[in-house]
Structure formats: C-alpha cells, structure tokens
C-alpha cells in the first residue's frame, strides 16, 4: 500500500489530504501514476490537468516524471512551492 499526500490546491481540488491505496502495475513511473490517478475522479482529473504545475516527491525525495516507482511508501503531490 502507498499513501498519497496532497497539498495546497491539489488537496482542495481532489477533496482530501491523503488516501492509501495499492498502486496498479501500470503506475511504474511518476508520469504513469499521474495518468492513472487522473482517471479516479473528476477532482483528480482537474487537479492533475496541467502537469507543468504539479510537483511530486517520492518517499520525501523530489521526483521527476521519469522517476520509477518501486514500492514507494509515501508519494506527495503538490504545486510548485511558493517560498516562505
């Protein structure tokens, strides 16, 4: 099982701050995960529509679209940070 964390307007658009689920085999990279997540609800689809505004951290390390997912425990999805 993997815990997905959502922050800021990603959280608001998806309507929850986290969900724990089993990733399907097709979610083998960050990009593929986002493609799959976008099919889960209209809120997911809207939040993830513009991938240029989405950042991802896998097990608390910044990841790119190509980062492979090998049994991650925690994936955070959020907008670009805006500083303090």
């Amino acid at each position: 099982m993997t815990t997905l964390l959502y922050f800021a307007w990603v959280r608001e658009m998806i309507g929850k701050d986290s969900e724990t689920l089993a990733l399907p085999a097709e979610a083998a990279t960050v990009a593929a995960l986002l493609d799959w997540l976008a099919t889960r609800s209209p809120g997911h689809a809207a939040a993830l529509a513009d991938r240029s505004r989405i950042r991802v951290a896998v097990d608390q390390q910044f990841a790119s679209a190509e980062t492979p997912l090998t049994a991650p425990r925690e994936i955070a999805i959020f907008p670009p940070v805006t500083g303090g």
Binding site: L5, F7, T82
Partner: protein, 156 residues
Amino acid sequence: MIAARLQQEPFDAAAEQAALTSGRTDLGAAVAFTGLVRADDGLVALTLEHYPAMTLAQLQAIAANAATRWPDTIGTIIHRHGRLLPGDAIVLVTTASPHRAHAFAAASFLMDWLKTKAPFWKREEWADGTTRWVDAKGSDDNAAERWLAKSPSTPP
C-alpha cells in the same frame, strides 16, 4: 552551527539572539532578520501550508549549507506556519559572527533561499472573502540564483 525550527507559535527574536550570543566574547556582530506579513492590496490573512516530513529537513539542509559557507557564523532559523495576519512576524533568521560581513551575508543568503525555495504553499485571504493560492514568483528566484551560481551544493 545554524539551527532550524518550524512552529505555529510566535517567536521571540531577542531571546533567540541572546541564546546565540550570551556568554560569548568572540562575536562582533549579530544580525536578526524578521519577515513580516504585508497587507498588500487588502490582504486580510495568509496561511502557510507545508509538508512536515520534508520541510524541516530542507530548512536544516540550507542551514548546514550556510554554516559551510560561513564557518565562523552561528545562527537560528525559525519559520512559522498556519494562519497569519498582516503585521505578524512569519520568519526569523538570526546570525552571529566575529565579522559583520559574514553575519550579514549568511542572513541574506538564508532569506533569499527561504523566500523562494522554502517548501511552503501560501493561501491569501482577501477583504471580499475570496482566497487565492500564491503562484511561484520569478523575481525572488533570481535573488536565490545569485547564490546558487556560487555553489552547486544548495539543497533543492
């Protein structure tokens, strides 16, 4: 050693600076930078959301980076999160060094990074009841790039 803390509560800049300098007679300079929430264009509140597991680690990484650049400089970073009002103090960077140029440079370096790279998302509340998530800013990025150009070791 430059320490970093995250907290919701207000901080006491004078106490933090005293903790750095008390009992020391080798420090010639202490700088305290306090960032304040501005009421630009009718802002009524600012909420900082963050990713607890990553944010503190990143603040500690930039603190360690600064300590490497200015080894004679000690300091403390305190960043607040949660809902803040105009005039509230949102961030403190206090540094102390034998040399004033080092104390100034370390504080300025840390603030450039914090204002642009610190992993926070800010939601603005306006007088008309609307809210808006702040977009990343270009100009502050440039201020941070000045430092990045000097070393590849700045944390993300």
